[in-house]
Symmetry: D2
């Protein structure tokens, strides 16, 4: 099972080649990750059940990023409809988890195109002590339905 986060491009995500810039892609992943996992609702009522982690500088727990890996499969042109970002958990450790992403063309377009695959290693850190803290049972239960295979990146 995967979390689907519709994620809009901005014109300014393009660089002078006319495609989404390689660095901006991480901004899109970050945006989808926040919509998937940070607690809090929005008025549009489409909150996934994985919105349980605190976010922002005033949280008790920080979600630090330790590692990222990405594979660019096809260039992304500007488009108005939101890209279909699929997220799931590739590994659930003691104090860390691996978020996996596939970036697909907008829902409804045919054929579907897979643009990018990526992973982000997140470590939960106690904001007071700045030490890693264990993922709690309620947190494990919330993300468990979205556990899936780790991405195998093409050999370089």
């Amino acid at each position: 099972m995967r979390i689907h986060i519709p994620t809009r491009l901005r014109w300014s995500d393009l660089d002078a080649y006319g495609h989404v810039n390689n660095a901006q892609m991480f901004g899109l992943l970050e945006e989808a990750r926040i919509h998937a996992f940070w607690e809090g609702d929005n008025a549009e009522g489409d909150a996934p059940p994985t919105r349980i982690f605190q976010g922002g500088p005033t949280a008790d727990t920080f979600t630090l990023i330790a590692h990222q890996e990405i594979e660019y499969l096809a260039p992304i042109a500007y488009q108005r409809d939101p890209l279909d970002l699929e997220l799931w958990i590739g590994r659930l450790g003691g104090a860390s988890m691996e978020v996996c992403y596939e970036v697909w063309s907008p829902v409804g377009e045919t054929p579907r195109v897979l643009f990018t695959r990526a992973t982000t290693t997140i470590v939960l850190v106690d904001a007071a002590t700045m030490k890693p803290r264990r993922i709690r049972d309620d947190e494990r239960e919330a993300v468990a339905p979205y556990l899936g295979d780790m991405i195998e990146f093409g050999k370089k």
Copy 2:
């Protein structure tokens, strides 16, 4: 009459003060302007009738930005629901027009908060000759319903 463009923040629009950065604000205005005026539809079917100007590097007419002015009235914190950007035309010249903006809190929130007011002067330029070209009658008709008063900025 005004064009309403719901415009989402990204977490990365904030700077280290925890509010939307002054320069990023122009990125949000650009995004709303593109959704209001660049031709082409999207699958969500909410295209305003002012989507008549070509956009992007392959267009016959470029819409160059000659001047911008902005007034910041209140800091903008991160929020999930899209800001309510209102756009209208403050002046319609021979080859140029003045786009006016008000940036409001998300629809449904009370009280409504006006965060920012701004204007952008756009000049239509023939891509072949790079000379200004007249706004055509069909273009005038499309934007005419959205003509309104120019913004009077507070004295500095």
Copy 3:
């Protein structure tokens, strides 16, 4: 007398038109303003005497931006050498000041090209009370040599 701040472009400042994006321009102005006015030295030893205002989220005084105005005179292509940003004070009020900018081609290039002119209204705000606070005498003295004419923008 003007403060000269050499300011480098980044490749990612360009948009799909192949020129510096209109919104990114404000990021360049911000960067030059910080190098001109925020206190603290750097190892390269080229600190202007106007580096007297505290910056960043932990300062006692915030330098809020109330208003900005900009005129784009020529498109800026990617270039390696730093642009020559000239800054001066166009107006020095009780609790606010007007920073003026001219963005020129890199030092040594001929002919010199003026790309952009802009102004930023800065208000000094006490971080504890969030009320404007008066510019102190030592602050006035530091910026006084750089007082000059306000920019007259072309009529729209």
Copy 4:
């Protein structure tokens, strides 16, 4: 042997946590990569001998990014002096190469801090046919002195 590219932060590279944003980090790597490998000189005369690849949308050969990997070792606060980015070639293939990076604290600061390690897989593509093209002998010779070990990332 490594290529040293002094790379300045911008204030806007920070996010609301007050540190360089994880996605912005890739913008810094891109900037250093361009200064290390794109052909063309600058007036400051510090061009490394590896500046031999064409860059930008009008080049005959595009340098596409196929894969990136990054490990964040310590958060980066705002600082005026340029970070010391070290670049080398971890693998030189038929039509592709692996650029390795270490992001260090500014030259002269003690103790030196290693903030980030990363790799980018670049594929040379013929702009006319959009097929990979072989790295030429003169290109191999220019980068050969900077061949070194591939980065071994910490296990996740």
